[in-house]
Subunit: 246 residues, 2 copies
């Protein structure tokens, strides 16, 4: 898997390993979103006792990948358009603030490193060719660098633990593509400039616009698809591909 959580710790216990496998299965859609989870079945599948499976489920619940009800059971979280938009709004708030804090708290070395990363991407031939794969990775790297640069454990934990698992899940399930490389590159460039200027206010503003632009782009795509589907009388919209950036 490409988009790794940068602050995760190694899986030492069996429950950890089962959790990781389940995490990938859910994020990549091998376990269908919204479906019920059978503890005995899964325990048998992963060759572990139900206790350790439940331990893994607890961790999945912590990361908002499943939902549990007492005496009823667990379900994989559902991927809805509303949920996706809510996620973007939350990201806008948290990553915006993280970017402001990064401008205040990043060391000069960290900033230099981020600038180096960016110019490396600039020289990368994939950018010129408009290939999305490397840019995708670069985009994720950039966002993580900014988040970690906030030096705020609370923000880091919330964004990386609570949000980004879901972000990756939506990316996979809705088949979202990367942003047009050049546009994102310019925006990233401006954000880094604001950070190296130690201009927290501008840095936050730019990051919020960067994320809000993606959200609005998605909203437009959705509106378009809805109209298309209405004219074509297609009922199933959950498998729709949304060509948009992270």
């Amino acid at each position: 898997m490409l988009l790794q959580n940068p602050i995760k710790q190694a899986a030492v216990t069996t429950a950890d390993k089962v959790f990781e496998q389940l995490q990938y299965a859910i994020v990549e859609g091998d376990m269908v979103a919204g479906s019920k989870i059978s503890e005995p079945e899964l325990a048998k599948y992963y060759q572990v006792s139900r206790s350790t499976l439940r331990e893994a489920l607890n961790r999945l619940e912590k990361y908002h990948l499943i939902e549990r009800k007492a005496n009823i059971g667990s379900r994989v979280v559902d991927c809805t358009i509303e949920g996706l938009l809510e996620l973007y709004i939350t990201r806008e708030a948290l990553e915006g603030m993280a970017c402001r804090q990064a401008a205040l708290n990043m060391t000069d070395e960290e900033i230099a490193h981020m600038q180096a990363m960016l110019s490396q991407h600039a020289n990368d031939k994939s950018l010129q060719e408009g290939v999305s794969y490397y840019q995708e990775q670069g985009d994720v790297d950039f966002h993580y660098k900014v988040i970690l640069g906030s030096h705020n454990q609370q923000l880091i934990s919330l964004i990386c633990d609570q949000l980004y698992h879901l972000v990756r899940m939506y990316r996979c399930q809705f088949g979202m593509h990367s942003p047009r490389a050049t546009r994102a590159f310019t925006e990233h460039s401006n954000i880094i400039q604001a950070i190296s200027d130690r201009d927290g206010e501008l840095a936050e503003l730019l990051m919020r616009r960067h994320i809000a632009a993606s959200r609005k782009n998605i909203e437009n795509k959705i509106a378009l698809q809805m109209a298309e589907q209405k004219s074509k009388h297609v009922s199933n919209q959950s498998s729709a591909q949304i060509s948009e950036e992270i």
Copy 2:
């Protein structure tokens, strides 16, 4: 306990009940912050098996009230000045955005209800007398109303589940008092006005100032106490009382 989580569901299972008791014990400081947790000991104390106690611990970990390490054990989270300030910065980001969304998404009925709540507080004699108790409750009610008014499940869950347990813990452990009633009342009043004007931008700005003001006030108090302690050669600073608003 006064400051309840407004979105919590009833505790039906034994693990739920143990979790609730442990939650209060941690928040109110009956279990000292940073201390190690003994599973056998706690299980015996609450008269449950270690399995159900571990289930409760899992939930505490989900809410960031304890921290676990594989094969090592659990510790109650530590209350530090840095952690408190990080919490305020995160609140500023999340509640600011929640307030913006509330301006966009609250129903007219919800707004009317919040206005009624505020004028009730205005007429309450406790406000005139500057009694903090009711105002404390009123302040919490106000913030919760705004958060729920965002109609954004992601924001609601993050703030109420992840942040407010810690907020209450810090309030208890640092013995923080309420804000001066009249000042907070005016600020709340202005925020509600912005919401009823459907002015999301202003609503967010005012809420962020409202929270940032508290944070800065705390920072000043801390700086003052640090100076005092230095002159008095007092070493223990963790039990300091910080007279500041939520």
